[in-house]
Symmetry: C2
Subunit: 336 residues, 2 copies
């Protein structure tokens, strides 16, 4: 059989075959292989747990730099990592359109597995639904993740205070622009690929031996850096000011954004983290971050001030300060 049919989602014989051949074969691990209604896990003693979920509806499902499979692993495990947790377990719920190519599903599952191995998590439980043609666009995946938080890690926007520094782990806007380019058939003189990748290693490097100096971390996905900073400012009841000149943006992204009238501060990222850290340790943390794969272009981009709580300002190259609000409206639906 070449394509998914409704009976693959029936719970019956073809459903069991699909699970055996595609999912168990592709995601091989002992817990998933037991095929129970729930995965049974022994949590490590005395650690708090982080629990997060994300649905992935990205269009197109295969894009420059990744696909919906690895994205569904990185997206959820990145949320766990910026919460200070070591990601460990994932669930995966697939909703597939009748007629989807089984070979494409295998590609997606192989990509999930590779990503899971890179992050050090296992997909231990799952679910597959098939819906008729036109009732879902190709394939949607939901993952939920569990991680465990080492003692001493206490991240919260409420710990942010004036004087703290804002660090970003790399260049901004790559994912959003790559998807836009692919979807609209744009070609850029320098190809732009998604940054879709794990931030768990970056988070670990930042937390280092002295995690108390990291106040809070986030991953700036939908809504981009601007929206993430607004969330931090509102939840932390502080003001934040960033310097545009210090924010890393790839020349190709900057150029394309200028041409298309887009602002990279609002474009989605899928492998970046933003951290608010104690000022006295900021330079050292930046060095640590830059020494890790994926953190080479990390930058100190701004600071927390005692301005109006919730306000985010950007200082332009000319020294002018402007309010940088949350994303209004919708630049690009189905970005993740």
């Amino acid at each position: 059989m070449e394509r998914i049919i409704l009976a693959h989602g029936s719970g019956g014989r073809l459903h069991h075959q699909l699970i055996q051949e595609v999912f168990l074969g592709g995601l091989e691990n002992r817990t998933l292989g037991e095929l129970l209604d729930a995965a049974i896990i022994d949590p490590p003693a005395g650690q708090r747990m982080a629990f997060s979920t994300d649905s992935f509806v990205i269009d197109p499902p295969f894009f420059p730099g990744g696909d919906i499979g690895c994205l569904s692993v990185y997206g959820t495990t990145n949320d766990l990592a910026v919460s200070g947790a070591r990601p460990r377990f994932l669930s995966a719920g697939f909703i597939i359109e009748e007629g989807f190519l089984i070979d494409d599903l295998k590609r997606v599952v192989a990509s999930m597995r590779e990503a899971a191995e890179r992050v050090g998590v296992e997909v231990v439980t799952g679910d597959t639904k098939v819906v008729g043609r036109g009732q879902v666009d190709k394939i949607f995946i939901n993952t939920a993740g569990i991680g465990f938080i080492p003692s001493g890690v206490e991240l919260s926007p409420l710990r942010i205070k004036a004087g703290d520094q804002v660090i970003v782990s790399g260049t901004l806007g790559d994912h959003g622009l790559a998807i836009l380019g692919q979807r609209e058939g744009l070609s850029f003189s320098t190809p732009v690929v998604s940054d879709c990748g794990p931030v768990a290693g970056l988070a670990r490097a930042l937390l280092g031996e002295d995690p108390a100096q990291v106040r809070c971390m986030r991953d700036p996905t939908r809504g981009g850096l601007a929206t993430t900073l607004n969330e931090l400012a509102q939840q932390g009841r502080v003001a934040i000011r960033v310097d545009e000149e210090r924010i890393p943006v790839l020349p190709a992204v900057r150029g394309a954004c200028a041409m298309l009238g887009l602002d990279p501060m609002y474009l989605a990222n899928e492998g970046k983290l933003v951290a608010v850290v104690a000022a006295e340790r900021a330079e050292e943390m930046l060095r640590r971050l830059r020494s890790v794969k994926g953190g080479e272009r990390a930058g100190l981009i701004g600071e927390v001030t005692d301005g109006s709580p919730g306000l985010v300002l950007r200082r332009t190259a000319l020294g002018v300060e402007r309010v940088m609000g949350m994303l209004e409206g919708e630049i690009l639906p189905r970005i993740c």
Copy 2:
């Protein structure tokens, strides 16, 4: 605003408003209210954990006896309960079609909350995506759940042995027939409503003080009782024989199935459990089950035999034995 628009899924300002107004208001609890990337949970010391997920794509989303909201809570917490766990935490991922009525979304969320309170779980983390018209059919929900397993509970199909008895907690086929009736515009002389409900209380009653006497539990959803018994027989490497006459089926369901040429053994259920238990305690367990709300019509329906591993037989009223295989093909897509 009356309807969901794409910007409600953007991660930006309207997205935050929707989360505040619909989800936080509707599912109010402290952990969700912190709006972090992940919920932070303190697991109880020394207990194993069960982790499960399900996506709900039911068509129509509102049906006689329930809706996609309570179904998404019961579906996943039932999987935890039949694994021997006490359900505690849920994640919820919503994928909503542009144009969906916000009032309908509020109804769904209110129904989730009521179901969550009934089971004793909290929705602690979530995600909302909005996709364009025609890219998803109205609303899909994924939930993942975490529960904790009291010590002494050791359920596994590998513990099933010849002589064990098979118990079902109530009448079969109600959910499948209710959905079919609603979707096809059939009206039955006695109305049939979905059994959509929790099995956690039933599972607790069965496990009682001596959980070792329960070998394994399942909830017979997609594929019905026939498919569930086949899974148990295959995974447990045993044969199972059930007596048709002892299987509880509502007269209205039996009548409609006869008329439509359907077999209630293959229809989905959403509030039932099947248990394989030690023969010497089966009668006592049945009494316990019948004393619990929802278990009044529980029945002893068959037994495990030393026949061919994986074989499931049904004995008809005339005493004839027939093979009852897994569901082949697809009776009714989008049943849950």
